[in-house]
């Protein structure tokens, strides 16, 4: 299974996501990237992230994304 950092790198190859704790504040992801990321995560992990979870706090860094995936039943 692809690591989250790898998936993020495919969406925005110009950034080092492992070096940031706040992707939004650092300008590494915007609202539109978030939509792409949700679709990619759904497809990669065979889940459907609920609309209520699609909020910036859940996509702040790799840790929060992993926590979201666990909440959606993904075993990492």
């Amino acid at each position: 299974m692809k690591p989250i950092a790898h998936i993020l790198k495919e969406i925005r190859p110009e950034f080092d996501f492992t070096a940031s704790n706040d992707f939004m504040a650092d300008g590494m992801l915007d609202s539109f990237d978030m939509v792409t990321l949700v679709a990619t995560l759904d497809k990669t992990f065979g889940i459907s992230i609920p609309g209520t979870e699609i909020v910036p706090e859940n996509f702040q860094n790799i840790g929060t994304i992993e926590a979201l995936l666990r909440k959606c039943g993904v075993k990492l």
Binding site: A25, G27, G51, I54
Partner: protein, 274 residues
């Protein structure tokens, strides 16, 4: 529709629609700072219809229309019951890939919207700028507080206020304070501006304009070069351009920008003329 009393109410309306939504769809991605500003100025109206929530934001003599819905079917159903659709001059932006937007455009078209413009996003990776040929960028300065009305006049003369989401004077003045507007003045007259927004490692050109009497003097090139050179830590540069504006697209390509597949369909209702 009623004025949004507080931003909490706006978020509540969105959350209610999102809860359990099978295929949530929206064109409302407000930055909290701007949302607060719209609510404070009484510029935001809201109507929560259960399966969908609708928002209108006042801008000059028309309104921006936003929605969030459980799915496209809910959008199609609820939008037809919205009285404001027929009563106000409306424009709406739908941003995404062409495939993802098709059904939403269909739903809005059924409600009386029609295509007005199509914009595409262009992106440039951070990196060195090619050396300047023969430009003297000594004239580039930051716009000053007193320049606000001249900046606004320049933007209103050069852009379509329906398609290009032009800023209000207060937004221009805030941008001047935040040093987001580079300018060239000739004999005290504002000749050209480049208005940008930077967030961390990403920077976006919002407007780049040269006043008609000062064109063909490479002032735009001077501004763009200064902008790119002064953002050496930025990793991604973005901008939006009208998709059939070949001249502008070629200029942006010259500076390394390329279309990245994201498009913005601007639709208007029947109260806005061709």
């Amino acid at each position: 529709m009623i004025p949004a009393p507080a931003i909490g109410g706006v978020f509540d309306a969105i959350q209610q629609v999102k809860a359990g939504a099978p295929a949530f769809c929206t064109n409302f991605f407000p930055v909290q700072r701007k949302l607060l500003e719209w609510v404070e100025h009484g510029e935001l109206l809201v109507e929560n219809r259960g399966d969908a929530a609708f928002f209108l934001r006042q801008d000059r003599d028309f309104w921006h229309f936003y929605f969030c819905a459980r799915d496209v079917a809910a959008l199609r159903r609820e939008i037809t019951a919205l009285a404001d659709i027929k009563a106000r001059r409306l424009t709406t932006d739908l941003v995404g890939s062409e495939d993802a937007l098709r059904d939403i455009i269909g739903a809005l078209t059924l409600a009386g919207f029609r295509p007005y413009a199509r914009l595409q996003r262009m992106t440039r990776a951070g990196g060195p700028t090619a050396p300047s040929a023969s430009t003297d960028d000594a004239a580039v300065t930051w716009a000053e507080q007193g320049d606000g009305p001249a900046v606004l006049a320049l933007l209103e003369a050069g852009f379509d206020h329906i398609a290009d989401q032009l800023p209000l004077l207060r937004e221009i003045e805030a941008a001047i304070t935040a040093r987001q507007i580079l300018a060239v003045k000739i004999d005290g007259t504002l000749a050209a501006v480049l208005f940008f927004e930077t967030q961390g490692f990403t920077s976006s050109v919002r407007y780049w304009a040269v006043a008609a009497p000062f064109r063909s003097r490479r002032l735009g090139a001077v501004l763009m070069r200064r902008y790119l050179e002064s953002h050496s830590t930025v990793r991604r540069f973005t901008l939006w351009v009208v998709a059939d504006n070949r001249n502008a697209i070629e200029k942006y390509r010259h500076y390394g920008y390329e279309p990245d597949g994201l498009v913005d369909h601007v639709l208007v209702n029947e109260l806005i003329a061709e």
